[in-house]
């Protein structure tokens, strides 16, 4: 006669009770697993992107300076470089040229970057793997690009960037500075933005403040702001999608509550019989507890394991259409697998605890049935 013996006995009874309505309970587990699966998938995906950003973007420029014109981005004059160089703490400043190119043949948007150290000759490009994938069929390996002057530049594809680096390079087209200026008709003396490096990393905020002071029509963006962007944007705890999924989860829990409150006559009778046979109220509640645990724990495990497989082995295919949106070019998501005890326990508490609670609490009334009601049945 032991406590664990009692738990196991009651668990036995609960399991055989669940097996008696196999179909219904299987459907319940499947449905709850699906909800957990969706929730866990979003959590894994968001967390993975967050970590990827943190891992990779720590080499982002320390400060990027943009110029604004009536609130919109404008080209930044290279004369600003001299002014910024004068700010104490600035190690180096240089202009960057980059922009977007829309390819009408396939509707894709590419990011074009003029590389001042472009290793190949003029008239060639280095493209990202995503660009290569979406290339309209061409003769040879030439990519015609329509300049803003109305003419065409026929760029020979010199190199394709690796598929491993797609998460940063998928849509890139790299070319020489001269080609860039010709393509977009960008005059000399201006750039898209300026990038700075600062001698002392702790001075970054001060330098940024100074820049705004001396150049009021600019907007500096620091590396920490870049990193924080990805931290916030993909913080699943505040996301829109999570809000929806938690709603789904809650709906499920409410359903469980409703089911437990409206115990069928048969279930009520069974509880009455148990009471009549000497089970105490606490024994019945314990049975309900195990019932909740069995369903929610199974769903939790299956949902989380399937979600991991979905996101990290199948590249989150189910979310593809939602994530792709209107984009034509969608990077091959080879995501960094993340799974931490924190994530797992959050998911556990979100799925197992409320469901078990929702199974026990409404059963209270039935559990406190007077045993002698059974005599009269």
């Amino acid at each position: 006669m032991s406590w664990t013996g009692k738990q196991r006995n009651i668990l036995d009874y609960t399991l055989s009770s669940l097996m008696r309505r196999k179909g219904r309970n299987a459907a319940l587990v499947i449905a709850y697993t699906f909800v957990v699966f969706l929730l866990a998938s979003v959590v894994f995906l968001a967390q993975s992107i967050k970590e990827e950003a943190k891992e990779v973007l720590r080499e982002a420029p320390e400060i990027v300076v943009q110029r604004l014109m009536a609130g919109r981005h404008d080209m930044i004059p290279e004369t600003y470089i001299g002014k910024i160089r004068g700010i104490p703490g600035v190690q180096s400043v240089k202009a960057r040229l980059w922009g977007y190119y829309y390819e009408p043949l396939n509707g894709a948007n590419y990011t074009v970057i003029a590389d001042e150290n472009y290793p190949y000759e003029k008239g060639t490009v280095v493209i990202g793997n995503g660009v290569a994938r979406h290339m309209p069929p061409l003769v040879g390996k030439t990519m015609p690009m329509r300049t803003y002057g109305g003419t065409y530049l026929f760029m020979r594809i010199q190199e394709t960037l690796s598929s491993e680096s797609e998460l940063v390079s998928s849509d890139l087209i790299l070319m020489s500075v001269d080609d860039f200026r010709q393509l977009f008709r960008v005059p000399e003396g201006v750039g898209t933005d300026l990038v700075l490096s600062v001698r002392n990393p702790r001075e970054v905020a001060t330098v940024a403040g100074k820049i705004v002071e001396i150049l009021p029509d600019t907007r500096p963006i620091t590396r920490s702001e870049v990193l924080r962007t990805y931290d916030a944007v993909f913080d699943w705890r505040g996301g829109l999608i999570i809000a929806n999924l938690i709603g789904a989860l809650l709906a499920f829990v409410l359903f469980a509550w409703d089911k437990a409150t409206g115990l069928s006559a048969e279930e009520r009778r069974e509880i009455g019989v148990l009471k009549g046979l000497g089970w105490e109220t606490s024994d019945v509640i314990l049975m309900k507890f195990w019932e909740g645990v069995v369903v929610s724990l199974s769903s939790f495990f299956l949902g989380v394991i399937l979600a991991y497989g979905h996101v990290f082995f199948a590249s989150a295919t189910l979310f593809e259409s939602a994530l792709k949106g209107w984009s034509v070019l969608y990077p091959a998501f080879r995501l960094k697998p993340v799974i931490t005890p924190y994530l797992v326990s959050v998911l556990f508490f979100l799925t197992v605890v409320p469901y078990t609670f929702a199974t026990i609490v409404p059963s209270w009334r039935a559990a406190t049935t007077d045993p002698d009601a059974v005599m009269r049945a």
């Binding site: 006669m1 009874y13 046979l277 000497g278 045993p371 059974v374 005599m375």
Partner: protein
């Protein structure tokens, strides 16, 4: 098992409401241990109510109950349940075997909360089923049992926790004469083992059986007069 004494028991249902109903009135009786007692009377006489009070399943509205020297009338729920579990095994009128489970499992159910090891419990349950000659049907689901077999399983279940007394409510209501007589044979065997048996019945096959030591006739919630046999 000690003797049970009832002193002036009164039970009222729905007190204060328009459907107030007095099921028992002025019940004074003694149930001697080790013997078979029958509460005899037609339906509505309060037998079932008295049975549930005797078996610590319900409390009287007024009056006193003694289990041996100990008064149990106003014992807290916890203790009452404990006594009920240890002292009494119940056979309900409808048997109330759990459908979808085997006979063996049904017999084991009352013992689950007591934490006994599964294997030991199984052995005991099989022993009981064997005692009442339904061990062959141990793994059959109870829906497939005949009336007589179901009854024996119900008896086995009532005895799984080794109670001192067995309480049965109209046990022969759904049985033919042969099975009814068989039931009373089992009662005789239990009686000779020293088990107290309390039966509520209006079946002559029960109250006229020679295994019965005492009959308490009831009508309209009152005891008519004690008939010693």
């Amino acid at each position: 098992m000690a003797r049970i004494e009832l002193k002036d028991i009164r039970k009222v249902f729905n007190a204060g409401k328009p459907n107030e109903f007095c099921a028992l009135e002025g019940i004074t009786a003694t149930i001697e241990p080790g013997r078979t007692t029958v509460l005899k009377g037609p339906s509505g006489s309060g037998k079932t109510t008295l049975l549930s009070i005797l078996g610590c399943m319900a409390r009287p509205t007024s009056g006193r109950i003694f289990l041996g020297e100990r008064e149990i009338t106003s014992l807290p729920e916890r203790f009452l349940t404990e006594i009920r579990r240890k002292a009494f095994g119940f056979i309900f009128q409808q048997f109330h075997l759990v459908k979808g489970l085997s006979a063996l499992e049904n017999v084991m159910i009352p013992a689950y909360p007591l934490g006994e090891g599964r294997e030991a419990l199984k052995t005991r349950a099989m022993g009981l089923l064997g005692r009442f000659e339904v061990d062959r049907k141990a793994s059959s689901n109870v829906e497939w049992l005949s009336g007589g077999e179901a009854q024996r399983v119900a008896i086995a279940r009532a005895l799984i926790n080794d109670p001192a007394a067995l309480i049965a409510d109209e046990p022969t209501a759904h049985l033919d004469s042969r099975l009814s007589r068989e039931f009373m044979e089992i009662v005789k065997r239990l009686g000779s083992n020293g088990t107290t048996v309390i039966i509520a019945s209006h079946d002559p096959l029960v109250y006229e059986s020679d295994s019965v030591a005492e009959v308490i006739p009831m009508r309209d919630g009152k005891v008519l007069r004690e008939e010693a046999r």
